[in-house]
Amino acid sequence: MSWIVSLPLIIPFATAVLSFLWRRSHLGGLVSVTGAAAQLVAAGVLMASTWQNGYTVGQMGGWDAPFGITLVADLLSAVMVVITAITGLAVAVYALSEIDARREELGYHALFHVLLTGVTGAFLTGDLFNLYVWFEVMLIASFGLLVLGGTKAEIDGGVKYVALNLVSTMLFLMATGLLYGLTGSLNMADLAQSVRASDNQGLVTVIAMMFMVAFGVKAALFPLFFWLPASYHTPAFSVSAVFAGLLTKVGVYALIRAFTLIFVSDVALTHQILLWAAVLTMITGVLGAASQNDFRKILSFHIVSQIGYMVLGLALFTPLALTGAVFYLVHHIIVKANLFLVSGVAHKLAKGTDLSRIGGLYKTAPLLAFLFLIPAFSLAGFPPLSGFWAKYVVVKASFEAGAFVAGAAALVVGALTIFSMTKIWAEAFWKDHPDGQEPRLRDIALRERLLALAPIAGLAALTVVIGLFPAPFLDLASRASAQLLDPQAYIDAVMPGGPS
């Protein structure tokens, strides 16, 4: 059991070490892709085990909970690990077509896999301080990736990103310290019990708010999202794709974990705040996107608006709403990473991402246009793609829970998303290129073309599959949400011997 849950973590870590040692030869890239594929296999095994047993628990170093560090996968964690591995593999393949030798020499592949390690670790850990450590692993790798190119824009984006994320980290650490002082434990399952039993509920609520702000910065929640649109459009496209897919979702995951397992004693207050934050996040994100005129900046703002939907699912705190949140997470990671990869190819063909300076891609690269339409329509929520079901469930849950304003906002934001996607379509694909350039996909070398288009096509296929056969995925999401609403089962799985 313990190895099943630790392997998805060990593999990217080992891959990072190996690809760094071989960074000067072609082996570095090969190791990176192989490692990502191996992680996908390990994640699949973890998913199978968790699907069968409900929880997969491993006590690291043989130290039992709550004293040692516990790795624990419930269905939400397992799903997130699988999606991380899928995104990791897609981006690792894409990176071979984009990352130049200079960036490879600086250790791009190693940093990329350290990032995957951090993300996976954050999804799997059952210990609050360990979560902090994984956040830092993720953060330091993302810092490196963000400024690897060393251009002025990258440095600028990096400064904003680093500054705000470091502040959130400090807040997270302080909240962890205070919670430890209150309960004397760091194990999440143990915390869930002792927080509920604590006689100082006022302090618990204060600590909960600190965690909300700390994770809210990571998740790019209103009004804490400013670092995201300031930095996501600056680095290499592979980097922004993996950031867009995974980083903010770790914040959302941490919010879901903390506010279903540990801080559920004052739902009326905390989840009400989350609800309004979610509504405002959706609206500001989509309005921000409407005001932008750059392929990647529009997509960045849409990350913010989509985060709102997921947090809305958490804030409503009903089984259906959490199902929607989990489903939304899965759908969103795939679609968003894919759109950023598409923007990378568009950049390569049209020599830019500023929408007023590019165009004509429908005429010159119809295949790319088709591959853009799938995730774009899915993001906007057209049936029968994955985004439709995700939005449908969340909106239905909000109306059922009586949150009419939130539901209406979700519908309006969906419509505005269509507007943004249409703008990208009209500007980048439909209108003629302002400089009359007509580079074709065929002009890119065959190897590079395959490496760039294969992951895009794969992720698009996944979007279509989830859209056409949503039943098993919704089933999975609803089982995950049932687990989230039953903290006692989580506690029993982590500490079978009962409270210590």
Binding site: I10, V17, Q59, M60
Partner: protein, 133 residues
Amino acid sequence: MNSLLLSVASRFFVTLLLMFSVFMLLRGHNLPGGGFIGGLIGAAGFIVYAIANGSQAARRTLRIDPRVIASSGVGIALLAGLSAALFGKAFFTGTWLIAGSIKLSTVIIFDIGVYFAVFGAILTLVFALEEAV
């Protein structure tokens, strides 16, 4: 910095601090010390050398790229954790091989990994800062 005294003394410092760092690494087994502090002390020796003779000279003396040292260290630590699989234990369980009065453990291997990781990481950083100014 251009100081003959420092430049000459720094060679002794490197040797002395490296030896002391290994002592600290091994001492950490049962007493205060260990891989982390050992790595810091070892790196301090080379930092003095870099201050006295320039970071290029320090790089030449070190021979191996500090980044390679750091990542190998991480690899060694990971291997120490993985070795628990051979004994059918959970990841990172300390396992011991006791032959008479000699006690070998995976814990010390982990510590050696930490030593190299810290040593390499600190020197990477210091050299980068030295060269950037």
